[in-house]
Subunit: 215 residues, 2 copies
């Protein structure tokens, strides 16, 4: 086997060292203090520095996300992958929980009956939740568009919408729509995003909420 | 609400349309026919065309992956996110299954006792599996390095290693190590990769295996 020279970094310190490297490579760029941990965590999960330019935050979005977490919010994801990526251990410390309705059999059945997409029915389920809600869309632009319609109709009042679907068909459009809405939002403008990005943003907010709680 | 002009594409046709767009944007570049669906699916999951340059295939890797799937292989992932992203429905059609040992309580317990990482113990679990195995590492370079050591010691004989960890510490090194190993591999060279990329590569192979099976 080829000898390779690994950096001697203890497993527990790898994340910290990674964040240092990301900070160095961001150089002299200045980001708002509350947004920086979100931007760095998305780069950490993708190794893609485009997110330093892509991510758009409505005023106070990070603060509102943290407040929702501290209020025991439900994080609604649009994929099982994003659900898997959210740090439920930290979320549960605040009395919150994560849910993904997309693969629920009754959501599929209702979508079939009504001739709707599962994304649409899932968003209606999300709108019916009690208590604070963070909606994290990393995959389905249809889900994001439906969520915007429900908000426009006054039927859905999420505390924060993380709009980071990825792809080539109606993805850019769905995110540009969210950017016009009067709801706290964090958006990855353009085609890029994904379930990993959605989960990373949730976790960045969760870790900031934990740090605040410790202070 | 702002009026947005959505492309009129039926939900069932969005993936096909996305793949067409990706094909158009790849332009006149020519890729081996068996590798192209893998490259396109990774771009589909990330909207990142860097993967057209990053992905490295050992000779026959796609064919060997498809053969493993048809032989009812176990796909071993290093994260729950990658596990979530693998299309288990298709995998099970071939008699295969997906597993992720990383969050098993007994893996954590054994790692603690032996002063090892969970990644190390997980790879030893993978090495002990019966039948064909595809190892898909999207996160932990320590897992990939340990897998290479076990292969070097003749203790682990995966049919294919998908080496696509993401990040900044020992990630590049772990992938360069895999590239020197005499084992079928698909590697995302450089820092980029992730659980979503690992799952996308598995799914690209699964769909090719399904298409073959239908022919």
């Amino acid at each position: 086997m080829k000898k390779i020279q690994l950096q001697r970094v203890a497993p527990a310190d790898i994340e910290e060292r990674s964040m240092e490297i990301i900070g160095q490579e961001l150089g002299e760029r200045v980001f708002p203090a509350d947004q920086l941990p979100v931007i760095k965590r998305v780069i950490h999960t993708s190794a893609d520095f485009d997110y330093a330019d892509n991510l758009v935050f409505s005023a106070g979005a990070v603060e509102q996300g943290i407040a929702a977490i501290k209020g025991g919010c439900t994080i609604v994801t649009d994929t099982q992958m994003a659900f898997s990526g959210v740090n439920k251990r930290v979320l549960e410390k605040f009395g919150g929980k994560a849910v993904c309705f997309m693969s629920d059999p009754d959501v599929a059945a209702e979508a079939r009956e009504r001739g709707e997409t599962r994304a649409t029915v899932s968003m209606e389920r999300a709108a019916a939740l009690e208590g604070p809600v963070i909606l994290a869309v990393g995959n389905a632009p249809t889900a994001l568009v439906r969520a915007c319609q429900l908000m426009d109709e006054g039927k859905f009042h999420p505390d924060l919408v993380i709009g980071v679907p990825v792809g080539f068909v109606n993805v850019v459009e769905s995110k540009e729509l969210l950017l016009t809405m009067d709801v706290p939002h964090i958006v990855a403008r353009g085609r890029k995003g994904g379930s990993n990005v959605a989960a990373a943003i949730c976790n960045a907010l969760l870790y900031q909420a934990s740090n605040n709680a410790r202070e």
